[in-house]
Amino acid sequence: MLKPILLVEDNPRDLDLSLRALARTRLANEVVVTRNGEEAWHYLTRQGVYADRPRGNPAVVLLDLKLPKIDGVELLDLIRKEPELENLPVVMLTASREQTDVARSYALGVNAYVVKPIEFVDFLEAIRDLGVFWAVINEPPPGSVRLKA
């Protein structure tokens, strides 16, 4: 069974567009949606409403930078400090090309950094590429080392 894709996005329109874009990629992976950093953290660490979900990490986390409660960079920091999640691929999705955000994300070990394009076709392409790359092609074998950006 394919690992799910975890999408962390608070903006309902962006979420909707991302889901539609992912749907068009025809990936078979399930897409799990969480609306803020805390909920995503609960999912990843099987707490709260996700306490009963089966063990196992998602194939990739598509993480929005700006999130309520725990934001994207903070969540990334938590993920990289958690031994079980250390090698989880994380792709930062953001509306910003601000150098400080990019620098911080890379410093924390993000696997890819994508500025959401305004053009829908470009956005579609980006989501498809990411999904295919991380969910299918680049699934890391157990015990492999996370790719440093």
């Binding site: 329109r13 962006d14 567009l17 509306a95 910003s96 601000e98 305004i118 053009e119 076709v121 956005f123």
Partner: protein
């Protein structure tokens, strides 16, 4: 005879300097001297002639009380006066005392003073006729003091004083002698008869009046040697008492150094009378009265001369102060506009340049140099730049000195001897040690001929028998020398004006620095605001455009069949509008990043950068047939990626506006000026109306209609911004349908430290 001034032998000076002349141990024979122990009120030391003068045995004088010697009245008077402060300052008239018998020689003027724990009583034998005329001198002096206001200049005043003091004393010659900073003296006024030669304008070396002699002149303002050939009268102590040598500093009859008497004899003077001219507690000069034959000056006349000379000192001080004040006023009148002119400029060099016409007049200089941030500017008669830098290094090496004034530069800085004719006077101000900024004024050498009263190199001669005994000069023949390496000295008023100038400049510089700091703080605050703004734009404005765009696309692809032709047309407009809005937002962000990103200066090879930019443009499949003509290009200092953007934008611009041409021709070449590299990009495109060329580089400025050429109107604004941050300029030439040339310059030495570029 002319000569450079040789050094005065130091050993000789020292030998003379060390003679303890205040402990002479003897007096001149014009009277007697007694030293009374203040504790027991008895005479402990007496001049050997005291017995004769007082009409009793010396052994009877020693151990006696003043009362026993002079009577109860005199004793009471001494006791009264000894409580007076005057007694401690110098010989004070106690009264007249006559021993029994007849004849003037038995009448004495009794003088008393207290010094070094001893009450010293001196009895001065009255001069012939003195008894009758003590008041006359005082009447005379009152008249003279009234007349002292009349002479207009200092020279006239001194001539008046010499004349009147000769009248008072009846001496053959009266000299007014002035000391310079090194204690060399010059005769500045003279009045004489034919008995003695003129010494007017002669210079005398400092060694002629050694240090301890000057100190005595300072303490005791009158000194009479009535007969240069006198035999000193030794001072004796009471038998069995071991007395320390008596300190005669304030004594009237103190015997002078044998060297001095020899000096007098060599000068041909039989009597000398000196009165000190004081200024602020220091010796300013001397009034020196000489007589060919021995001559005595009654105490009353001496007192009158002292009073007159004191008034003269005050008059001199007042006049010099008035002259200084007048000069200060004149210089102040120059300083005010200079400071106002300086205040209008940020940099010292520019400020000074703006007031250059006043700069030299400010301190009466022949030339000036200004140094700031290792740049040098010179005005008038100044050394060349290399020497100015050399001087600046020397000044640096002297440490933190706000002001240095010298009129003998080569004496302090021997390297300056080589150009002493142009520069011998230097007045240097340190403005800001951090920026090593200085203002230096220069004065030319003024060759001065000085006439010495005898060869100053031979002030004293050793005896043939050996150097143990010193002889003063034997010759007072005029001896001329040429003084080289000296400029007119800087006056107190000039130095004070320079100091005020410095305070004003430092103030201006500080205010400038403060303004700059304020500006830079404002700038970085604005930058932070801009950063926040762009962040908001990027995150908050991009999202809605993305949503409009996204749903419009979805509407078209998924629900397009529900719309009629007109509805689809509307949808196209929505898509087009949102695409354009999205690009605008992205461009604004790119532009603001360009302004904020730190520049990384490296050497950039434009002959590699331009082909790289052309490759980018060629990669666009839409690019038409274009002939690229690239000339030799230089290496420049700048930020590689920023400059790539500049070149890319200019070439893209050229490609865009040559769109209608079948064969586009785009040329790139460079020129060089002493300070800049200039790069040109010329195309054979549609050109522009030169009337609007100032609008070209503005943000969102378009000179062409919307449909004609696409573009967000931001490319050239970015070019200007990046080039400005490199310290360069951009400009353009063109005419409608005649092609356009866009140019930018880059300084060869960029100054990225400027806050506006930082």
């Amino acid at each position: 005879m002319n000569a450079e001034r040789p050094p005065v032998p130091v050993a000789v000076l020292d030998a003379c300097d060390q003679e303890p002349i205040h402990l002479a141990g003897s007096i001149q024979p014009g009277g007697f001297l007694l030293a009374v122990d203040e504790a027991d009120g008895r005479v402990v030391q007496a001049s050997e002639n005291a017995g004769d003068c007082l009409g009793r045995a010396l052994s009877a004088v020693l151990g006696a009380t003043p009362g026993e010697l002079f009577g109860a009245e005199t004793e009471a008077r001494v006791r009264e006066l000894s409580r007076d402060a005057r007694f401690a300052r110098g010989a004070t008239f106690v009264g007249r005392w006559a021993r029994g018998g007849s004849g003037d020689e038995r009448v004495f003027a009794l003088l008393g003073h207290r010094h070094a724990g001893r009450l010293i009583l001196e009895g001065e034998r009255l001069c012939a006729g003195e008894a009758a005329a003590p008041v006359e001198a005082h009447e005379q002096i009152e008249v003279l003091l009234g007349q002292m206001e009349t002479p207009r200049t200092v020279d006239e005043l001194l001539a008046f004083a010499a004349r009147e003091l000769r009248g008072l004393t009846g001496f053959d010659r009266v000299l007014v002698y002035r000391f310079d900073a090194d204690w060399h003296g010059r005769v500045v006024a003279e009045d004489r008869n034919d008995a003695l030669p003129s010494y007017l304008d002669l210079h005398f070396p400092a060694s002629d009046i050694p240090r301890q002699a000057r100190e005595l002149y300072r303490l005791n303002r009158l000194r009479l040697i009535a007969d240069a050939s006198y035999e000193p009268v030794p001072i004796r102590a009471a038998p069995g008492r071991a007395e320390a040598p008596l300190d005669l500093s304030l004594a009237t009859l103190r015997s002078v150094s044998p060297v001095h008497r020899e000096y007098m004899r060599n000068m041909g003077t039989g009597a000398s009378f000196s009165i000190s001219l004081m200024r602020d507690g220091e010796l300013w000069g001397l009034v020196s009265c000489h007589n060919a034959a021995p001559r005595r000056v009654p105490f009353a006349v001496r007192a009158a001369c002292a009073l007159f000379t004191q008034a003269l000192s005050l008059q001199l001080a007042v006049r010099e102060q008035a002259e200084g004040l007048a000069q200060r006023m004149r210089l102040q009148a120059i300083l005010t506009p200079v400071v106002a002119g300086l205040a209008r400029h940020e940099r010292l060099l520019e400020g000074i340049d703006a007031v250059r016409e006043h700069l030299l007049r400010l301190v009466g200089a022949d030339g000036a140099a200004v140094i700031e941030d290792d740049r040098v500017a010179s005005y008038g008669c100044a050394p060349d730049e290399r020497r100015v830098r050399e001087l600046a290094r020397w000044l640096d090496s002297r440490g933190e000195e706000e002001l240095l004034a010298t009129h003998q530069l080569a004496a302090e800085f021997p390297e300056a001897a080589g150009y002493a004719a142009e520069v011998s006077g230097l007045l240097a101000l340190s403005i800001s040690p951090r920026r090593r900024s200085r203002v230096i004024w220069f004065r030319r050498e003024v060759v001065e001929t000085v006439t010495w009263g005898g060869d100053p190199a031979k002030p004293l001669a050793a005896d043939a028998a050996g150097p143990a005994r010193l002889h003063p000069r034997k010759s007072f023949e005029r001896w001329r020398e040429l003084l080289r390496g000296r400029a007119r000295p800087w006056s107190a008023a000039e130095i004070e004006t320079a100091r005020e100038f410095r305070v004003a400049v430092v103030d201006i510089v500080l205010r400038g620095a403060e303004r700059l700091a304020q500006l830079s703080e404002e700038l970085s605050r604005t930058n932070r605001e801009l950063e926040n703004f762009s962040y908001t734009v990027s995150h908050d404005l991009r999202a809605p455009f993305r949503h409009i765009r996204g749903y419009a696309e979805l509407l078209k692809s998924d629900k397009g069949h529900l719309l009629d032709a007109e509805g689809l047309q509307f949808l196209e407009y929505v898509l087009e509008g949102s695409r354009h809005a999205g690009r605008l937002v992205d461009n604004i962000l790119a532009f603001s990043r360009m302004g904020r990103a730190a520049l990384v200066f490296t050497t950039v090879a434009l002959d590699e950068l331009v082909p790289e930019a052309i490759r980018f443009l060629k990669a666009d499949p839409g690019t038409r047939r274009i002939e690229w003509v690239v000339g030799p290009l230089p290496k420049v200092e700048g930020d590689q990626s920023m400059l790539l953007r500049v070149v890319h934008n200019l070439l893209e611009n050229a490609v865009k506006f040559t769109g209608p041409r079948e064969l586009a021709r785009i040329e790139v070449w460079a020129e060089e000026t002493p300070t800049e590299h200039v790069v040109h990009v010329r195309d054979n495109g549609v050109g522009f109306d030169p009337r609007y060329k100032d609008k070209l580089f503005g943000m969102f400025q378009r000179l062409h209609d919307w449909e004609e050429f696409s573009g967000a109107g931001i490319g050239l604004a970015s070019v200007r911004r990046v080039v400005a941050r490199h310290g360069g300029r951009v400009w353009a030439d063109g005419r409608p349908d005649g092609g356009a040339t866009f140019s930018f310059s880059l300084p060869k030495t960029p100054s990225p430290s400027h806050p506006l570029y930082a």
